[in-house]
């Protein structure tokens, strides 16, 4: 998937010379995960900028460049290190169009790897899933692709978006998941979910790396004739309300699964939509699965396993729901 990110950046930078990239190690090194590899060589110092090691400035300077007519991409090396830039994201980028009554705008993409897992070994500060913090904020769009094709298409859409977009790439997907990436121009609109697997008995709303774990769980139940629909939300703000409501009404049994911990998470919002809009169609309680309420994923594998929402836990959840 990391290649898809790189391709989208390169293709859009060729198409639009207002796009610049800035962040720690994005230049010669090409990013710690290689997402910007080759860009410095092709586009030079002025467009691919190795920033000082200071996150607030990466986002704040990008905002200024956006205000002055550029379309910056601010890369934060790990989502875990975004907090110093939160003031710039929440108080500034998200509010610029609104607070100026549409006089100014802030077309900015904030990219960051997120997420962990047993094999990521990122521990507490290189593996968090903080998307809910951003999903709470009007003025932001929050995107989490789960496939290489979507990474390219959604990032292309983000780079063309007139407003700030947070683009979070699950690092377990960078190399683990291969998939088709359409060549040439490929745009996937922000705010639309995708049916990753059709089904009729249960639906699992999910996003990011958890899509793949959900698909695995769904396959297992499929062998027993329980057909689980897996919906990849792709964007957690704005949520694809129409798809959520239509699917929940049609199927009647709803599970929401994500790697982030549950309280106040995206799953809570999806569950609330379903409860409010689909009450009469439900054949069971809306269920959620997510990380336990501990600060983040611990380092030791034995501890990390406790956190991780893999196919086994999702399968168990689906079985509980199926029993209703």
């Amino acid at each position: 998937m990391v290649e898809a990110v790189r391709t989208a950046l390169a293709e859009e930078m060729r198409r639009d010379d207002r796009i610049i990239v800035m962040g720690e190690d994005v230049g010669l090194k090409g990013g710690v995960f290689g997402a910007t590899q080759g860009l410095h060589q092709e586009f030079g110092d002025l467009r691919v900028i190795d920033s000082p090691l200071a996150e607030a400035s990466i986002v704040g300077v990008a905002i200024g460049a956006a205000l002055a007519g550029l379309r910056p991409v601010a890369e934060i090396q790990f989502q875990d290190f975004i907090p110093p830039a939160m003031d710039q994201i929440l108080s500034e980028a998200a509010k610029i169009r609104y607070r100026s009554n549409n006089d100014w705008s802030c077309p900015l993409v904030i990219r960051a790897p997120c997420g962990g897992g047993v094999h990521v070994h990122g521990a507490l500060y290189h593996s968090q899933s903080l998307e809910a913090l951003f999903a709470h904020v009007p003025g932001l769009k929050v995107v989490l692709p789960s496939t290489p094709g979507d990474a390219k298409g959604l990032l292309t859409a983000a780079l063309r978006d007139p407003d700030p977009v947070c683009f979070f790439e699950h690092k377990a997907l960078y190399r683990a998941f291969k998939g088709e990436v359409p060549a040439g121009e490929h745009v996937v609109p922000i705010g639309r979910a995708r049916v990753a697997r059709p089904g009729r008995d249960l639906v699992c709303f999910t996003y990011g790396a958890t899509v793949h774990e959900s698909l695995r769980a769904a396959e297992r139940l499929g062998l027993e004739g329980i057909e689980v629909e897996v919906v990849d939300l792709r964007t957690v703000r704005p949520l694809d309300r129409e798809c959520i409501v239509e699917t929940a009404r049609r199927i009647g049994k709803v599970l929401v699964a994500h790697e982030a911990n549950l309280a106040g998470g995206v799953g809570a919002e999806v569950a609330a939509i379903v409860a409010e809009e689909c009450f009469e169609s439900l054949d069971g309680p809306v269920m959620r699965l997510g990380g336990p309420e501990i600060p983040a994923i611990p380092f030791a594998e034995s501890l990390a396993e406790v956190y991780y929402l893999g196919a086994d836990r999702i399968e168990a959840g689906l079985r509980r729901l199926a029993a209703y």
């Binding site: 610049i20 000082p52 607030a56 300077v61 002055a68 500034e92």
Partner: protein, 334 residues
Amino acid sequence: MAVTESAPPAALDLGPDTLLEMYRAMVLGRLLDERIIILNRQGRAPFAISGQGHEATQVGVGYALRRDYDWAVPYYRDLSLVLVMGMSPLDQLLAALGKAGDPNSGGRQMPAHYSSRAHNIVTGGSPVATQILHAVGVGLAFRYRGEDRVVVTACGEGGTSEGDWHEGLNWAAVHRLPVIFLVENNGFAISVPQARQMAVAHVTDRAAGYGLPGVCVDGGDVLAVHQVAVEAVARARRGEGPTLIEAHCVRLQSHSSDDDQRRYRAPDDLRDLRSHDPLDRFRVDLEAAGILSPERAAAVRADCLAEIDRAQQIADEAPAPDPATALHHVHQEG
């Protein structure tokens, strides 16, 4: 990278017309500021925050910029600066009264959150010093496009304690960007004196730490500020990078309409403030140079008051924002 202490000789060679214009700009800023405070005391403007005492600094810097070409990323005391850059008393009275036609924000933000795309004045929020980084990004865009524009950004000495301020100076110096960092040092961050804000005597003592020139200037001397700003603008335009300017100002009013500085400033200090009023200082200098007479000064004042009165009448009659519009412009529409 030496820190220059103080004021170059007063540059009265700007010519009488420009000097009088600058004087009028200072008077207009002062009288408009006073009017907004009056509207607040009358219960008509819910909030007021004053730039009184900072006029010489702002007009001195404003006159060093090329209007509608250079950019500003101001803070809440920069009323006189945004007037020099092309905004009007009406624009600010519409904001003070929260009217739909307020060009700063359409009645969405508190007053003194100056913004005008038409005049290259960047919208700002309320968190202190976040705007410093935006100015660096604006300078980066100028550099990228090969333009010789300059951007000035301002904050108080309290703002220099924020991390964003330090990150901004560092980035601009590393990339030699055309940014002027103006610190309007009035000695107080609301109630906290400079000695509790920093262990150095001057904000400009920090300039060497970032590798950019720092110039300390008497912010009550409009011509001294102007000269320093002209030099900083010229450096930036030549591609020689950013400058830190620290202008020492007096804060004649309390921090805001919700503050009372008598609670934390010594009575002697407060009595002494008026003797440092930059308007009086410039008037006396201009009179001594034979450029301004007491009659002419009175006429300037009357002219500014008339402009403000006319603007206030329009602002009074202007409609409030339609509640239906409160939901607009979160994202681009249509």
